[in-house]
């Protein structure tokens, strides 16, 4: 460090300096958190900050008050309960991925978490934050949808648990109210024979935003075939095709054909820098077919 002392009087420039000024709060329990939320206007919750800080640097988001939720114990829990998996709002991607038993059991979700950002981003970014960002291309909602997940939402005087399929309302929009916080994601324990997989198309290998993400989950024992889709509609989409494969008296190939028709009718992709509408439609169906075949055969 001494060797750099010649720099003492030099101005070290910073290109992307955050201009927005704000107050920073660091509550350590939920009641303190809700007191601040109730008391302050124009607040933003900070967990991993991998989207929020970038938005603030670009002045796309100018909160007056930042509430850091990372020091609240309740929000740092990732654990299996009688109801399934509980992922607190401050649980980072790598914190989740380090729980090897959970990763094995909830593999389709782990597939999505593993490809979110880069290693450094996964050390900070949270799974609940990825969901609450409500980006159409987010990697964790499609797997979470296939696992029938719910999101636990709290305010100072209320608590509600909403099925994730009803959470998203538009591009980067969801049902969270001003004074509400998404406390956790809850994932029911998957069927013992359940197998899942998430695959996504990106322009380059490594950290890139998804041009199309497809998650599949199949359990023959519990008669489940569910597929989740990202980056092909304004919100993540779920197709529950269980009845096609297990109730209707049609063979597997016909059922798959019908599933692909449903994909075509459910998704609503756009053309942007990452892909074209046509390519996204095509990839969504190709991945559906591929993931279905793989999972179905694996379950034989």
């Amino acid at each position: 460090m001494g060797g750099l002392s010649f720099l003492t009087n030099m101005e070290v420039r910073c290109k992307l300096k955050m201009k927005n000024e704000f107050n920073y709060y660091n509550p350590t329990n939920m009641s303190e958190l809700f007191e601040i939320i109730e008391d302050k206007k124009n607040t933003a919750l900070l967990a991993g900050g991998t989207d929020l800080i970038v938005d603030m640097k670009h002045e796309a988001h100018k909160p007056d008050n930042i509430i850091d939720i990372k020091n609240i114990d309740e929000l740092n829990k990732v654990e299996e309960t009688d109801e399934g998996l509980y992922i607190g709002a401050a649980v980072t991607c790598n914190q989740f991925l380090n729980e090897s038993d959970i990763v094995d059991k909830y593999k389709v979700l782990a597939d999505g978490v593993k490809v979110l950002g880069s290693h450094q981003i996964r050390n900070r970014a949270t799974i609940v934050g990825n969901v609450c960002g409500s980006s159409p291309g987010a990697d964790t909602p499609p797997p979470l949808l296939t696992l029938n997940s719910t999101i636990l939402i709290k305010s100072s005087n209320n608590e509600r648990e909403v099925n994730l399929v009803d959470f998203f309302t538009g591009v980067k929009r969801n049902i969270l109210g001003d004074n509400e916080i998404a406390v956790a994601i809850k994932v029911p324990e998957p069927a013992l024979d359940g197998i899942g997989k998430y695959e996504r198309k990106t322009r380059v290998k490594g950290p890139d935003l998804s041009a199309c993400g497809v998650a599949g989950f199949i359990s023959k024992e519990e008669k489940i075939v569910r597929f989740g889709y990202g980056a092909v509609a304004p919100i993540p989409k779920l197709i529950d095709a269980s009845e096609l494969f297990f109730e209707k008296n049609i063979d597997k190939d016909k059922a798959l054909e019908e599933l692909l028709n449903r994909v075509e009718n459910t998704i609503n992709p756009i053309t942007d820098v990452r892909s074209t509408e046509k390519h996204r439609r095509s990839i969504a169906k190709v991945y559906t077919k591929r993931i279905f075949s793989e999972l179905w055969e694996e379950g034989e």
């Binding site: 290109k15 955050m18 900070l46 900050g49 990372k70 880069s118 290693h119």
Partner: protein, 164 residues
């Protein structure tokens, strides 16, 4: 509105510091401007390129998208703290030996990501190396020599331990 300043303490390369900062200062700004630790670079400023990578409480992070207030009480390691008594660390030595450096802009971040990887996983596979360094972009080397340097660094660490 009165935007409150905050006092934070940081342990950077085993030295303790206390600063009064504005909440909108990033960890990278504090390292570069207040401590003149200019090894960590601002490339993209958005956490994408990894040039600002430092180790925070044992984990590699992009310091350009971490507020300094968030790091209050944290133990930070930067590339400046890697050499001891002018002797390069095993990772730095391996980067030099394998020619894993060209312009050098990405190198401090690469070194810190590699150091964090080997601290957690002394014998990483090729895939594990790629996963750990996927957030560090380099426009010069083509990555092959960097990957080789990580392997060499792992070997050096093993030899170092067996010589202890």
């Amino acid at each position: 509105m009165n935007k409150l300043k905050k006092t934070i303490s940081l342990t950077v390369n085993n030295r303790n510091f206390e600063f009064e900062i504005s909440p909108n200062e990033t960890l990278l700004e504090v390292l570069r401007k207040r401590l003149n630790l200019t090894g960590a670079k601002e490339g993209c400023g958005e956490g994408e390129c990894g040039a600002c990578t430092v180790i925070m409480n044992g984990e590699a992070v992009t310091s350009c998208i971490i507020l300094a207030v968030e790091a209050d009480g944290a133990k930070i390691e930067t590339v400046e703290g890697q050499s001891i008594d002018d002797r390069l660390s095993d990772v730095q030595e391996a980067f030099v030996e394998e020619g894993a450096i060209q312009c050098g802009f990405c190198t401090p971040g690469m070194v810190m990501s590699t150091t964090a990887l080997l601290d957690h996983n002394p014998d990483p596979s090729d895939d594990e190396i790629k996963e750990a360094l996927e957030g560090n972009l380099c426009r010069c080397t083509g990555y092959y020599t960097i990957q080789k340097a990580v392997k060499t660094a792992a070997e050096k660490r093993k030899e170092g331990k067996s010589n202890d």
